[in-house]
Subunit: 331 residues, 2 copies
Amino acid sequence: MTTANRQITLAHRPEGQLAQSCFSRSDDNPAPTPGEGEALGKVEWLSIDPTIRMWMAMDTYLPAIEIGAPIRSAGLVRVVESDNPALAVGTLVFATPGWQEYAIVTERDQVVPEGVDPTAALSIFGITGITAYFGLLDIGRPTEGETVVVSGAAGSTGSIVGQIAKIKGCRVVGIAGSDDKCSWLTNELGFDAAINYRSENVAAKLRETCPDGIDVYFDNVGGDILEAAIGHLALRGRVVMCGAISQYNDSAPSPGPRNLSALISKRGRMEGFIVLDYLKRSGEAIQDLATWLAEGRLTFTVDVMEGLDSAPDALMKLFDGGNTGKMMVRL
Amino acid sequence: MTTANRQITLAHRPEGQLAQSCFSRSDDNPAPTPGEGEALGKVEWLSIDPTIRMWMAMDTYLPAIEIGAPIRSAGLVRVVESDNPALAVGTLVFATPGWQEYAIVTERDQVVPEGVDPTAALSIFGITGITAYFGLLDIGRPTEGETVVVSGAAGSTGSIVGQIAKIKGCRVVGIAGSDDKCSWLTNELGFDAAINYRSENVAAKLRETCPDGIDVYFDNVGGDILEAAIGHLALRGRVVMCGAISQYNDSAPSPGPRNLSALISKRGRMEGFIVLDYLKRSGEAIQDLATWLAEGRLTFTVDVMEGLDSAPDALMKLFDGGNTGKMMVRL
């Protein structure tokens, strides 16, 4: 007897704003059949990340999702059928199951140690935390006393970036989209200042809150905010290019910052990275993050929606800034 | 008796194209008076560089030239009056005399060893060679077998960059503004390919001539060519930001490349530098450059105009691409 496997698949490539019409739902797929050494898992959690929008649209650092295929997505999968002792039934693994109920897991996926809260595994100990950790420390390389600015600061990655920068002794300024988010950054997370990009002049506020310029700008958004940050870089300032969420929904490419040549006189560095390259070093990040968490120096927040069918809404919520913390779906 | 000191000074800041009206000439200034430990020198050669256009317009990595002050410029100065044995009369020094006949030289200026041809001192062993050497090797860091693309490739810096890249075992593609320049690059300098940006589609030609993508793009021009190069970067490609001559004459800032976020998926790095930071290491560059020159592996060309009064024309010639080789003025 075949197990039914509900899926949400790519109906057509998005142009402009994401819409429900980009997604199809189907109930009549059979669960996949594991190959040699693989196991069958039931998807328990999905990680909802802005990069999914890119995978839907085009080839990037991974090939585009095929039309009709389940939406590619990281998540947590519980092994339900296995001949492989390394993937015993009941094991929870971090994998890339896609938006469906059943998926194949392999030994290349990462086992989640028992006792770890799944929401932590999908956020602070998952892509979010590892992105923040290596993006800031390996690409941005801030030193004590430097000024770090992060955009998307109330988002899942940005909020971790800012907290790690504080732990490393930096002055930290966050850029976010509401007064509530800004208050949360300064009152709860210990940021030194926060800028509401919807109501304030970002360039003017950066000059005010970063009198010595910006040593590290961690960019989650691109666009005008990137230009404002480049315009206020300190000598030898670094721009960590993590994401450009302000542009993912654009149907035509937007012009880049008009002041790029400031990188010449500032001796600036702008560098992109993809967290996949760091997964083999994730142990380093997880060890530090777990220590800081246990010491109460780090906080993470999650935004959970219920049921596979809520996944498209969860993804769209990321792009209107409505989420508070790491977006995920519980199946 | 005071010595008359002819000067060319900044009349007003340029907007858009440089014009003769930006410059004033004056004959009635006295030669400057050296302070303690300084010497008086007669200016023999002026180095004409695109960065002068920036200094005329605004504060950059150096303060803007003041209105009424001589145009700031590097050059070679012969000591004519000195109490300092380290700066004996007759010594030739590399200094920043500005556009005038007499200037002060100090011990911070660099003595040009006897026997070095002044045109070599101002080009291959001067700012041009040191810029090419450290920009390519220290910022771009090409390794053997990688593909290096350089814009402004027939210019003074670009032509040295490409030749050093060949010496380091790279595949080299130059971008220049005429078929004659392109032939010179491939036939005389040993470039593997050359692209005429005025008559060819740069993006298409980059795809054709760099089948494995661009590992190092040495950018002398900015603008559309920068965008085309970013669009064809190889994984972990590097963009060396040396200059943006295509934009120096713009009256309003131009939009930047629309594809900057490609730096994320490509794990690209874009980095600016200023040769001033490398002057203390210039010995390293000069040693290698002199060796390659002696071995016949390196060629440099100079474009000499005669007389202080020709300096504005020499500078304007840089921006219409009319020069062939390092632009300089002999007084």
